[in-house]
Amino acid sequence: MSLDKPYLDVPGTIIFDAEQSRKGYWLNQFCMSLMKAENRERFKADERAYLDEWAMTEEQKQAVLARDLNWCMRTGGNIYFLAKIGATDGKSFQQMAGSMTGMTEEEYRNMMVSGGRSPEGNRFLGEDGDAQPHHQPQGKAGRKTTGSN
């Protein structure tokens, strides 16, 4: 019998459950290693070589090199672990969270100062809120590139 996962129909959201955790084990443990200053230095000196020390999939390594946090999440990353990459890059939590929406830093900050993203239309897949797949990317940052998700 399959497990009950009622959270799979929440738009723009990946719940870090036991299955995602299994997929992302080495990716997240790589992230943890960045809590040590010497590892941050080694990673910054040669990112690819440092990633190759870990039993991550090639896709996970590509996602990290691209700093595409949505892609990292799909391959099993968890935001609190991925935040260690952001800390290594000198990024705040707000910059990291914003990067997953396709908004510029300013657009995302303005949304938060105006009271944040509304839950209206964003509770279930198939509604019409701004977090729905057919409204991605949401801002100017995403439109500059091919976007992700």
Binding site: D17, N70, K84, A87, F93, Q94, P119
Partner: protein, 290 residues
């Protein structure tokens, strides 16, 4: 006998800690938030708790994927502020209460809650930001927190996290444990984390003021009913990281009214949006004499 005199509820956003540490509390963005805690600091100076039982969650700091305890009680004498990648916060070490913590562990486990016991743990912003908000920054001339702290870590990072009801029942067991400790101690229990926020995916930045305020209303008036709310409602309504709010139910379950005593007095309530990505909620409830 040890007594739980009050419960405190507050968000523990890391950016709040950074704002304190970098001297930004009077900037227009942060001023309204910190003003919301002026009363609380004054109140704590009058209350003078001996021990705070502090329910929080670790954010991939002390616990990686090596070990993921659902409920972990700190029984150590001392805990160091963790380096979360930006350097440790410049706050004092946290002093524990090993005797009371060991007593609680023994009592609660015999009450059917299988706690993990932790004697070595660095504490991250989940624990130190609430201390900063409630006690302010200790002066260099007397660089210590004004009371002892028992850290109680809850897994809210990897699903499934404990249910609201499990947390509420655990709070009851913690109350029984604390109030059976022989030493006269003024104990507060704090529930931290939340309120609505989502830090991931295209839905990042979700805030739900209405749901948050209803949560505060119900936490005060009908906590046993609130404890029945399933995980999926937190995720849908308060964002994937809003699930941290289950931790508030542990503190609420430890209040006297839940065990048949008088209703607590609502001493203070505060709500503010935003702190970085998050809605900030804060509540103080005092137990009343029988």
């Amino acid at each position: 006998m040890a007594k739980i005199t009050a419960s405190v509820y507050t968000s523990h956003v890391p950016a709040i800690g950074a704002a304190i540490d970098l001297g930004k509390t009077q900037e227009p963005y942060w001023q309204p938030l910190f003003a919301g805690y002026d009363f609380s600091k004054e109140w704590e100076r009058a209350q003078k708790p001996d021990v705070v039982f502090l329910v929080f969650n670790d954010h991939a700091t002390a616990f990686s994927l090596d070990m993921i305890p659902t409920f972990a009680i700190g029984t150590a004498a001392e805990y160091q502020p963790a380096d979360e990648g930006w350097g440790p916060r410049p706050v004092p070490a946290v002093h524990g209460h090993p005797e009371l913590a060991a007593h609680i562990a023994q009592s609660v486990i015999q009450d059917d809650f299988d706690l993990t016991i932790v004697n070595k743990m660095d504490v991250d912003h989940g624990l130190t930001v609430p201390l900063s908000l409630m006690f302010g920054q200790p002066p260099q001339s007397d660089f210590r927190w004004p009371c002892k702290v028992i850290p109680f870590a809850v897994n809210v990072v990897q699903y499934p996290v404990p249910s609201g009801n499990r947390c509420f029942q655990l709070g009851k067991a913690i109350r029984r444990a604390i109030e059976s400790f022989d030493e006269d101690l003024n104990v507060q229990i704090w529930g931290t984390g939340g309120m609505s926020h989502q830090l991931q995916g295209p839905r990042a930045g979700l805030i739900n003021k209405d749901w948050d305020n209803r949560f505060l209303d119900r936490l005060i008036a009908e906590p046993a009913e609130l404890a029945k709310v399933p995980h999926i409602e937190y995720v849908r309504e308060a964002g994937s990281e809003g699930i941290e709010l289950v931790m508030w139910l542990i503190a609420r379950g430890a209040m006297a009214d839940v065990a048949g005593g008088p209703a607590p007095k609502v001493v203070y309530r505060f709500f503010h949006v935003p702190a970085s990505n998050t809605a900030v909620g804060h509540l103080i409830l005092e137990n009343q004499p029988v």
